[in-house]
């Protein structure tokens, strides 16, 4: 090499692949790391908990309103004498499953809509963005309730009803990233060297547009869990499964007499959603190139 070039300060800072760099950034965010550990524990408990703690959450196992810690029931029993700990463990499966799949669905719809709108622009963009705005101004909870009320309250339908109302933010973020990146020279260069539209959309632009989408997706899991809790609080839930929101909903009449029956699942939701938000924040800091130079 005859280049008489030197590596400037910035070159020394950026040495590795962007994603490795991001992970190192993420690791330095202590709150996000703690949240990630807590989330892993929750996930682990949701998957393996029922094997270790084989009490059926629907079975009436003890006297109603037995407070936490008494008679060997760590979190106590509800108004029918069902074990709350078992409800939390089984509920975690449902709540997290719905949270993940609804978030996945809204990311899928949002990225597709946003990518096509941002890449093709023109009338395609106009039409897609008007549709997005339509979904944005809908009263989301009401719309989900209508869907569940009309088509039944199976897990699938609840997931669908959450996914269908919450993709708009992803669509807008994806579109704005595509609008920005499609004008960059490397996209132009790739087009000039014969790449097809599909290749540009999926292989060239998408990897570069991912960071803000990943952050939004993480936050979406949290809000989907909350949304599901809201629906089941209102009784719009599959009666054959337990979820945290449903536990709160079914015990809500006894909130004054036996507060713990409502607070315990509430705390479960709170911790989970908080941790997801913290991880999302950590991802945001780690993936945001403007903050990375610090």
């Amino acid at each position: 090499m005859s280049d008489m070039e030197q590596r400037t300060t910035q070159d020394i800072i950026a040495e590795r692949h962007p994603f490795i760099e991001a992970w190192q950034m993420f690791r330095r965010n202590h709150a996000a790391m703690v949240a990630l550990v807590v989330l892993s524990l929750i996930g682990f408990g949701a998957i393996f908990g029922p094997l270790v703690y084989p009490i059926d959450p629907f079975e009436m196992v003890w006297t109603p309103f037995s407070p936490p810690g008494v008679d060997g029931f760590i979190l106590g029993t509800d108004y029918l004498g069902r074990d709350l700990l078992s409800a939390i463990i089984h509920g975690a499966r449902v709540s997290i499953l719905i949270g993940l799949s609804a978030a996945f669905m809204s990311v899928f719809i949002g990225v597709s809509v946003g990518a096509i709108a941002g890449f093709y622009r023109g009338w395609v963009e106009e039409v897609l963005m008007r549709i997005t705005e339509f979904f944005q101004v809908l009263p989301t909870l009401l719309f989900s309730m209508v869907i569940v009320a009309l088509f039944g309250s199976s897990l699938m339908m609840i997931t669908f009803s959450i996914g269908i109302v919450s993709w708009t933010a992803v669509a807008r973020i994806t579109r704005s990233e595509y609008l920005r990146i499609r004008e960059l020279e490397y996209v132009m260069a790739s087009r000039a060297s014969g790449s097809t539209d599909a290749k540009l959309i999926f292989k060239v632009i998408l990897p570069n547009a991912l960071p803000p989408i990943i952050v939004q997706a993480a936050l979406m899991v949290g809000s989907a869990i909350l949304f599901e809790a809201g629906l089941s609080f209102l009784g719009l839930t599959d009666p054959n499964v337990v979820s945290w929101g449903q536990v709160i909903g079914s015990n809500r009449q006894y909130i004054l007499d036996a507060g713990y029956t409502v607070t315990i699942p509430g705390i479960a939701i709170f911790i989970t959603v908080l941790c997801i938000s913290l991880v999302g924040d950590g991802l945001n800091d780690a993936l945001n190139p403007r903050l990375r130079q610090r």
């Binding site: 008489m4 070039e5 300060t9 070159d11 020279e185 490397y186 260069a189 060297s193 990897p207």
Partner: protein
């Protein structure tokens, strides 16, 4: 002996990074006296900006630390202050008051939400505690001093209503508002067109004479140094390598780095009487092995009446309100094995021509034929095939490579798209291309951010070569690079041309580079070619008024050929935006001599 206004003594600045301490500036000493312009010159990363920011103690905001040396500054009261020991509250009374600063980018140095008057009076009212009216009066005076047209009207305008040159004048007026003892100008003309650059340089020089301030002028451009400096400080890798008067530095450089820096700078006019392009001079390899091609007279690319317009949309239904006539009735022919350059200032449509040829932007009308096929009327699959013959190298090597893709994949990408090679043959060819552009094979598995600008541009060239194209469109391909790197990349391009018989369409604003590398030149203004001809004719016998003005504005890297403000005569750039009913006049040309034409219809200049 008068006291110098500012003196740097053994300055050392360090930056803390994740990977350890990086020394930004080490052991730098020099002095700036009143009424003197000291140019600090060096390539990117040489620490020239860091030194100037240290003088303002702004370097700490960027994470730097002054870890050694002293910075002496003589205040208005006559006392000498050590800037390195001053606290930030004292610095606030000095910044903008006793030391003025002009930044590189006039578009972002002004706050878009405040009027010119508000921004100009802000400093006066805080530092000089002038009343509202007195400050306004002084602001007007300043605008007269920087010779902005219609100063009264400018006071109440917002930055977006001013052109780039006018904004930079406002920035200079702001820097001068409190009559600073020292003016620091950090690449003040790098973002400007050459005609505006010439005006701004002349302005700074005149103001220095009138007000007696000391000027610390930071630049990477040796031609600007030749025009501006009294003394020169050459910096390299955070160290001062040489210091001297401008004549000493240009005529008798001592240090090897200074010599190589000067060698790589092309001088406008030095190609007089030569027929063929010549490789750039580089220290160390005087005898370049290749001979530039004389080219053939067989046309490769014929462009006829090419017109590209962009719609300006607005209003409720986003109707088309007006058209930007980016390219208007442009015709030219590029011969096989030759380099044709399009030159002009920003906004003249030269890049749009390049993109229209590949139909990366859709031309409105005209014919573009390469090897007899008309590209403008092709269907998408035909176009995709035709692009096999034409590839492009873009301006910004930091933007033109995909940050998430390995370099070998980026170079292999075009071949995968067209299925020209696969498997082992593909890997072999990628390696061969890396050899061609003189990059080591260890770079195959790296990502773009691990490379320097020049190395990235080599990758971009390798990618353009992958499909064995006949034509490469180089859109400002070297303007973002440091001079020595620029010279290497240009030589690489010339070498590839002579070995592979490539044709180049070279789009550039840099007249000196164009003079060195082209066979034919087209000068563009407001979307039209105003003058076209063989390189020697355009540079030695320019006929169109705009070509003459443009050549006059280019700074020459020779301190004995300075231009004065009186030589310059520019009109503000007219707008290429016209209403929907505007009928563009077809371009008509007069032949001066064989192959040399000038536009006779209205060019807008």
């Amino acid at each position: 002996m008068t006291k110098p206004i500012a003196s740097f003594e053994n300055l050392r600045v360090e930056f803390e990074t994740k990977t350890g301490t990086v020394v930004g500036v080490e052991d730098v000493s020099f002095k700036i006296k009143a009424k003197e312009t000291v140019c600090v010159v060096g390539e990117s990363g040489s620490g020239k900006s860091v030194s100037s920011l240290s003088m303002l103690r702004l370097v700490e905001f960027g994470g730097g630390k002054l870890t050694g040396g002293t910075l002496k500054f003589t205040r208005k009261s006559g006392e000498t202050l050590d800037i390195t020991k001053a606290d930030q509250s004292l610095m606030r009374t000095i910044r903008g008051n006793e030391i003025g600063m002009i930044f590189q980018e006039p578009m972002t140095a002004l706050n878009p939400l405040f009027t010119v008057a508000q921004q100009l009076t802000e400093g006066l009212r805080t530092h000089k505690t002038l009343g509202k009216e007195a400050a306004a009066k002084r602001a007007l005076e300043l605008l007269y001093q920087v010779r902005i047209p219609e100063p009264e009207r400018r006071l109440n305008q917002y930055p977006h209503e001013l052109s780039g040159g006018m904004r930079q004048r406002v920035v200079i007026a702001m820097a001068l508002a409190c009559e600073p003892r020292l003016l620091i100008a950090d690449e003040p003309t790098t973002a400007l067109d050459v005609t505006i650059q010439a005006e701004i340089l002349a302005l700074i020089d005149r103001l220095k004479q009138e007000t007696g301030t000391a000027v610390m002028f930071i630049t990477h451009d040796m031609s600007v140094v030749a025009q501006m400096a009294d003394r020169v400080v050459v910096m390299h890798r955070g160290k001062k390598v040489e210091e001297g008067t401008v004549e000493q530095i240009f005529e008798n450089p001592k240090h090897d780095y200074t010599k190589s820096l000067l060698a790589a700078v092309p001088k406008l006019g030095e190609m007089k009487g030569k027929l063929l392009p010549e490789p750039m001079r580089l220290m160390g390899n005087e005898n370049t092995k290749f001979k530039p091609l004389s080219g053939s007279d067989e046309p490769l690319l014929i462009v006829k009446n090419l017109t590209t317009r962009f719609a300006v949309k607005g209003g409720f239904l986003r109707r088309t309100l007006a058209n930007v006539h980016a390219v208007e009735d442009v015709s030219f022919t590029l011969m096989k094995g030759k380099t044709l350059s399009l030159v002009g200032e920003s906004g003249c449509g030269k890049s749009t021509v390049g993109r229209s040829l590949l139909r990366l932007v859709e031309p409105l009308s005209g014919q573009v034929s390469i090897d007899g096929q008309n590209i403008v009327t092709m269907s998408p699959p035909e176009l995709r095939k035709a692009r096999l013959n034409m590839q492009m190298v873009f301006q910004d090597p930091f933007a033109s490579l995909n940050p998430q893709m390995l370099l070998k994949d980026q170079v292999a990408d075009p071949m995968r798209n067209y299925n020209t090679h696969s498997g082992e043959a593909l890997d072999k060819r990628v390696e061969m291309l890396f050899d061609r552009v003189k990059l080591p094979h260890s770079f195959l598995r790296r990502y773009p951010h691990e490379l320097s600008g020049g190395q990235r541009q080599r990758v971009a060239i390798a990618r353009a070569l992958a499909l064995n194209p006949k034509l490469i469109i180089a859109d400002e391909a070297v303007s973002a690079l440091d001079v020595s790197v620029q010279a290497q990349v240009l030589n690489l391009m010339l070498e590839l041309q002579s070995e592979l018989g490539l044709s180049f369409l070279f789009i550039s604003h840099d007249m000196a580079v164009v003079e060195r590398v082209s066979h034919d030149v087209g000068v563009m203004y407001l979307g039209r070619i105003v003058e076209f001809g063989p390189r020697s004719k355009i540079f030695e016998n320019p006929q169109h008024a705009y070509t003459k003005a443009l050549l006059k504005a280019v700074p020459i890297a020779d301190p004995r050929q300075r231009r004065s403000e009186n030589d310059l005569n520019f009109k503000p750039l007219a707008s290429p935006i016209h209403s929907l009913h505007y009928e563009a006049v077809p371009s008509a040309y007069e032949t001066i001599s064989e192959g040399h034409f000038i536009l006779t219809t209205d060019s807008g200049y």
